[in-house]
Structures are given as structure tokens and as C-alpha cells.
Symmetry: C2
């Protein structure tokens, strides 16, 4: 183990120590810390914007592309939005220790299952320095420690923002090491080895970033590498509705992971397909259609061998004809990414079969795939969207950062007092306080 690995292990263990203090503190303390982060963002606004200007200046010199530059740039307005977000978290419910179930095992023997922080999180994100405050705020509210690795180009901005989080923790009497800024790929590589010291990795960025992290760690990863979302237009679909849902799914934000990438069309719907095809083409979408469906959409281009199985992240949509609901479901299972898939149909029985059988994190009837999102689902802040089948699945809110603990309160009972011919358990479910 080289020095760098040892340093990283030390950082992760100090984070664990600070996290236990943060989780053991009162909700009021975590609230106070969050309010103080907002205060520091205000007090230090000039210094933060100065550091950010230096990052932007260097990025411009190094030729960073326009959209990335605008994501990198902070402003008074963006800082005000971040303060609003922190105040929303500060006034929101504290999840730490929240009871989920209560059971009377026997008289004077009561079991409570409570929410408890996962522990030490490693979050790897790209470009936007805003993420430091958003993620750091979520971690503080949920009693987790977080190691934050942002993009190199935002180094000075991230450091200034991490400083606000750490100073606010110290101000609240908490260990500052519950939030740590990490720099450099070597450091991340070393951290990804520490499956005993880090409990969850959350990559926020490109599919490439997610895949490379998934491939190089044994720590559980919350996220999704791909969003190959599909829309199945059933033979009993209303053509105008199908057009509306397809255009929204593809065009509302084509680069999003929940954008529709493949349209599956029942062959009996083909005579009405022009309504959908024209709407898409009018919206500026390049429609790549199989031979059968292209006969009904003269404006479409010929699909290549990979069309229908990939994430475009652009105004491109594949169209394929299927002969049955079963074929559509099988195609989604074979070529989709189990992120979000939708059906348009006015046949309730077909819709229920689709909802029941499609094995994806989100499955929709008569709604655009773009609804798959923590904010739209009403989860508040979104940690990410998970296609994992373990822990949290689909859009993940603060509860995805929580695990549980079982608390048992007794009067000195031993397990040997129960069993055949002895005392019996009551197992009576109690109301939550």
C-alpha cells in the first residue's frame, strides 16, 4: 500500500468518526449546521465568486466548450438558489432515527426499526460546483459523511464551497471531516478500493463515468450507466396521445437519461403511425425506422443495426414494428436498460399487463418517460436515479441515503425464556408515535 492509499484510508476513517458524531447529534444540531452553511454562502459570496471567476478564466484559456463553461460559472443568483435549497432542507423533516415500524414482541419487550444514515458516501460529479452544496446539504440532513470529488476545472470553486460546509459543521460542534473535498484521479482510484471504509458510491455524470466506476470497485454504486427508455404504442393507442407522449419523451430534454430512445409500434397501429411520425419529424427529430414502419413514414431514414438498442441523448428516435404485446415486452427486456418504459393504449387490460410485467425501475401507462424524476415524483431533492435492483431503485430521494437499525428495549429478558412449552411471543404491531 503506497502512501496515497494510506492517506485515503485515513480520510475515510476520519469521515466515519465525524459521521457518527453527526448521526448521534440532535436533529436541531443538523438543522443549525444547514442554516449556518446558508449564512456562510452569504458572508463569503465575494470570495466564492472570485475563486469561481479564476476557474472560469482558466477553463476559457484551456478551451472548455460553451455549455460546460456555463455550468461551471457561479453567480449571485445561483448562490441564492443554493441558499434556498439549504433552507428548504433545514426546515424539512430530519430522517435520522425516524421510526418505521414498532412491534411488541412481548410485555415489556418492544422492537423499533428506525432510519439510520448509511455512513460514508463517495460522490463523484462533473463540472457544476453547485453540486457541492446540494450534495453536502443532503448528507448533513441525513447524518451521512460525504467525500466529494468534483471536476478538476472547478477546483477553486469546489474548495471554497467545501470550506463553507466544513466550517458550518465545526460551528455546530460537529467534526468537519464529515465533508471532505477530494482531488485527483489517483485519490478516487484509492478510495474505490476501500470497500470496508466507504459504504456507497454515487457517480453523477456521464454513462462513461458510471460504467468506469462500476467496473473498478466492490463498493455498491447508486446510479445508472444507461437510460435506453422505450415507448410502446399499442394497437389500441389513441394516435394524438401517442404523438404527444412520443414528442414530449423525445424532445422535452433529449440529453436526459429519461428521454425516449426507441418507439415500438404494434403492426395494427401502422395505418395511424403517420400522425406520430409527422409530429416527431415536425419537432425536428431524426426518425430511424425499420423497413415495415418506414413505409408509413416517408420522412424517416433507414434504421441501422444498432438503432433501437442505444441511448442517443439527441433528437434521434428509433422506430421498430412488433407483432404483439409479448414481443414488445421481450424487446424491452432484451434491449432496454430497465430505467423507464411506457405504453400508450386505451385498452386497460393491456396496460395492466404491461405495468405488471415490464421489469424496469419505472413503468408508465399513457405518460411520457420524462416523468421519471425525483422532483416530479415528489421526493424533494434527488440523489440520483438507480437501475440497481438492490437498495433504492428508480428516482432516489433522501431515503435512499438511509439504512435501518433495529432497537430493542426490554427488562432483562433472555431468549431462552421463549420457545416450546415456555413463553410465546406476541408479535403485536404497534402504532408509530
Amino acid at each position: 500500500m503506497n502512501t496515497d492509499d494510506a492517506t485515503m484510508r485515513g480520510i475515510a476513517r476520519e469521515a466515519r468518526r465525524a459521521q457518527r458524531g453527526l448521526a448521534g447529534a440532535t436533529a436541531a444540531t443538523r438543522t443549525q449546521v444547514l442554516e449556518h452553511v446558508a449564512q456562510l454562502l452569504s458572508d463569503r459570496e465575494a470570495a466564492i465568486l472570485e475563486q469561481n471567476a479564476a476557474d472560469c478564466e482558466q477553463a476559457r484559456r484551456e478551451g472548455l466548450a460553451g455549455p460546460l463553461l456555463s455550468r461551471l460559472a457561479l453567480s449571485s443568483g445561483k448562490l441564492a438558489t443554493l441558499r434556498d435549497g439549504l433552507r428548504t432542507l433545514a426546515s424539512g423533516e430530519d430522517p435520522v432515527g425516524r421510526p418505521i415500524t414498532r412491534t411488541e414482541l412481548d410485555e415489556g419487550l418492544e422492537l423499533t426499526k428506525v432510519l439510520s444514515p448509511i455512513g460514508v458516501l463517495l460522490v463523484v460529479f462533473e463540472s457544476r460546483p453547485d453540486a457541492v452544496i446540494q450534495i453536502g446539504g443532503l448528507a448533513i440532513r441525513s447524518g451521512n459523511a460525504v467525500l466529494l470529488k468534483g471536476g478538476r476545472e472547478a477546483g477553486r470553486s469546489n474548495a471554497a464551497l467545501v470550506g463553507c460546509l466544513r466550517d458550518a459543521l465545526a460551528y455546530g460542534g460537529m467534526g468537519a471531516d464529515a465533508v471532505v473535498g477530494i482531488e485527483g484521479r489517483t485519490a478516487v482510484k484509492a478510495l474505490l478500493e476501500l470497500d470496508e471504509d466507504i459504504d456507497l458510491v454515487i457517480p453523477r455524470g456521464s454513462g462513461e463515468l458510471v460504467r468506469s466506476i462500476q467496473a473498478s470497485t466492490k463498493i455498491p454504486v447508486l446510479g445508472h450507466a444507461e437510460g435506453i427508455c422505450m415507448l410502446y404504442v399499442d394497437r389500441a393507442a389513441d394516435p394524438a396521445m401517442a404523438a404527444r407522449v412520443a414528442v414530449d419523451g423525445k424532445c422535452d430534454y433529449p440529453a436526459a437519461c429519461n428521454a425516449t430512445e426507441t418507439l415500438l409500434v404494434h403492426r395494427d397501429f401502422l395505418p395511424q403511425l403517420p400522425v406520430v411520425g409527422n409530429a416527431l419529424i415536425d419537432a425536428g427529430v431524426e426518425v430511424r425506422a425499420d423497413e415495415v414502419s418506414r413505409a408509413w413514414m416517408p420522412g424517416a431514414v433507414e434504421a441501422g443495426p444498432t438503432d433501437g438498442t442505444v441511448e442517443y441523448g439527441d433528437r434521434i428516435l428509433a422506430v421498430r414494428t412488433v407483432s404483439s404485446l409479448d414481443e414488445a415486452i421481450a424487446y424491452i427486456h432484451e434491449h432496454g436498460s430497465a430505467h423507464t418504459d411506457a405504453i400508450v393504449t386505451s385498452d386497460e387490460a393491456v396496460a395492466e399487463r404491461f405495468l405488471n410485467e415490464v421489469d424496469s425501475a419505472s413503468v408508465f401507462h399513457n405518460a411520457s418517460t420524462r416523468f421519471a424524476d425525483g422532483y416530479r415524483y415528489g421526493l424533494g431533492a434527488e440523489v440520483g436515479i438507480s437501475t440497481s435492483r438492490i437498495h433504492a431503485r428508480g428516482p432516489v430521494g433522501v431515503e435512499g441515503l438511509m439504512t435501518t437499525r433495529w432497537l430493542l428495549r426490554g427488562r432483562g429478558q433472555g431468549a431462552g425464556e421463549y420457545g416450546d412449552g415456555k413463553r410465546a411471543f406476541r408479535h403485536r404491531r404497534l402504532a408509530l408515535p
Copy 2:
């Protein structure tokens, strides 16, 4: 990839296909399959016992130890118990598709989060052929597929029991490949590579088995490698209660993972320690005490350097003196396994700090560590006890074999209809049906 790897991948993928059929079927179908497994266990009793007798005969020739032999042996009585378990599962609630939350996002746009099977499980267990039916039954009830790898010595028995499960699936019109018996270490090694085709590994057996599986797969592992459970006797502990909880924790079943291994004693309690020490020694426990506590327990032996940090699985208990609650908690975090830890005290404030701050799956006040168990917690069948901080933690029942899906039912809405200056979401929580 050699042939064996390809074969295993094929088996896992066929299991996935059969699993989707099983999950998409009605609860009544899964119930019918479970009832038919019980019927087949009855119809085939003679043949099953014959195969089992052959296993036992060979095991005796090969010199298998007595306790292992008795775990290997089936009987009419054991088969009757298995049938009872299946009927309990058959008459119990079916978790597949059970709604957990319902939210009205807007008029005519309703989101439901439902329980959904994890998918394909790999369960590796030792010796007891009973486990085939117990695990297979749980998998069928929960709509999961399961690949079952039992001990070599139980090969014939396991094959006969797996046959009952597969034939019952086929009888119910389901794919038999939702349950597959796996033989040989090479096969398991190949399966542990398939992190895209297998969703969860559940090792049921020794810490060595669990550790070796955790070290050799990227698939999430549900279980625990160690159960180093600790009991802290506070200075405000009632001596008789401390003695009772310590003796039960150590002696009720010393080989269990939830047996107490280390006793931490507040130094102010030392004058009353003889009550606890004598009770333990009278119960036949070898007490390995540090120097300070040994002065109060003449019957104890001197603790070595590793005592207090290991799982004995035997009638041996380490005793260490601490100066404060904080020192006790720090010791548990440093040397425990985050499985189950307990405090005996009549000081409620100290108890609540212990319950709040000890970061273990189960934390008890005035109760024996032996209560950490799915049956005692009222979870019904126990899948295992997890010390992972992701997914399920502590004793895990059927719900630990479930993930969730989000179902959205709309009227053709697009996400672009919502936002600033457009429609607003309602996010109204609805009652469950």
C-alpha cells in the same frame, strides 16, 4: 470464456426468463405452486428418504462428524415440518406488486410504488437439505428465481427436493428454471462472475464461506461474515439482570452468530461484577478477563491479546473494563462486527444514548443479544442476518428479497406541460387500497 462459464450464464438467463413469468403470474398461481410442492413432498416421501439414506450412508463411510450427519439426515418428521412451512407460506400474504406508497402527481396522473422481486438469487448453503425447500418456498412466494448450491454430501437429497420444486412450478404452468440446483465449486465460481445476470448472493453457512464469497464477487452479498456481539454492563446496571442477560447471551446457543462474545464492564460496576462472573462460571463459561476485572473474578483466566475482538462460537467470553459509556461505544465500533450489541443499565438517559449512538444492525437495552433473529422479530421466515449497510440490515425476512418499481398511470401527459408558468404538481399522498 470456457464452456462451463457459458453454461452457467445460460442457466442464469433461463432463470431470469422463468422468474419474469413467475413474477408476472397471479398470487393464486404462486400459492398453487407452493401447495403442490407440499403435495409432492408427501407423494415422493419414500423416494426422498431413500436418496437421503444413500447420502447419509456415504457420509458415514467418509467419516462425516456426528452433528453434521444429524443435520444431513431427513425423516418423516422433518418432511412434515417442511410441508407445514410451505402451507404457512401458501396461506400468507403475497408480496409481489404490493403497493407501498401512492401519490397523486396531478389530476389523472397517479404514481404507485410497488414491491417487486429482486430477480435471480444465488443461495449457497451447507449440509442441511431442508434449506432447499425453505429457500425454494420463499423464492416462489416472492416471485424470485433461485440457483441453489448445497453441500456435496447432500447431493442426492438436494436433487430430489429440487425436483419437487421444479415439477410444482411446471404443474402451475410456470417455467421450471425458476429453481435450479447447482453442483460443484467450479460452477459457483463461474456464477459469482455473472454480476449482470445474478442480482443477489445469499451465503448461509460459516463466516469462512461468507468471507470467501464476498471476496470473489461483485454481486451484492446478503449476510454477515462475523457475529462479534458485545454486552456493555453500565455502572447503573442491576447485577442480577446483568447476570441473566449475559448468561443467556452466551449460553442459550453459543455457536449462533448472535451469541455474546465480549462483556464490557464499567469500572464503577466492578464491586458487583462477582454476581455476573459467578453466574457465567457456574454456567460452564470460560471467562477470559483483563487484569482489572479479573481481580473481581478469581475463577476467570487471563485474557490474551486477541480476546475481546473475536467470535468464539463456544462457551468462552471475554471481559474488559472501560471507564465510560463513550469508551464502551468506541470499543464496540472498533472491535465489534456491527451485528448486535446490548447494554444493561437502569439509567434511561445512558440507555437512550447507547441506542442512538451504537452503529450496529441491532442495538438492545436490557435484553439478550440472542433476540436478534427473524423469527423472534416477528418477520416470519428468515432469509438471513445482514451486516451490510445497503439494502436490508439485521434479520431479513421475505421483504429483503423484494425491490420496488414505480408505476405511473396517466392520460397522455407530457413532462413539458409542467414547470414555471405552467401546470404545477399536486404531490398529494393517497391512502393505500
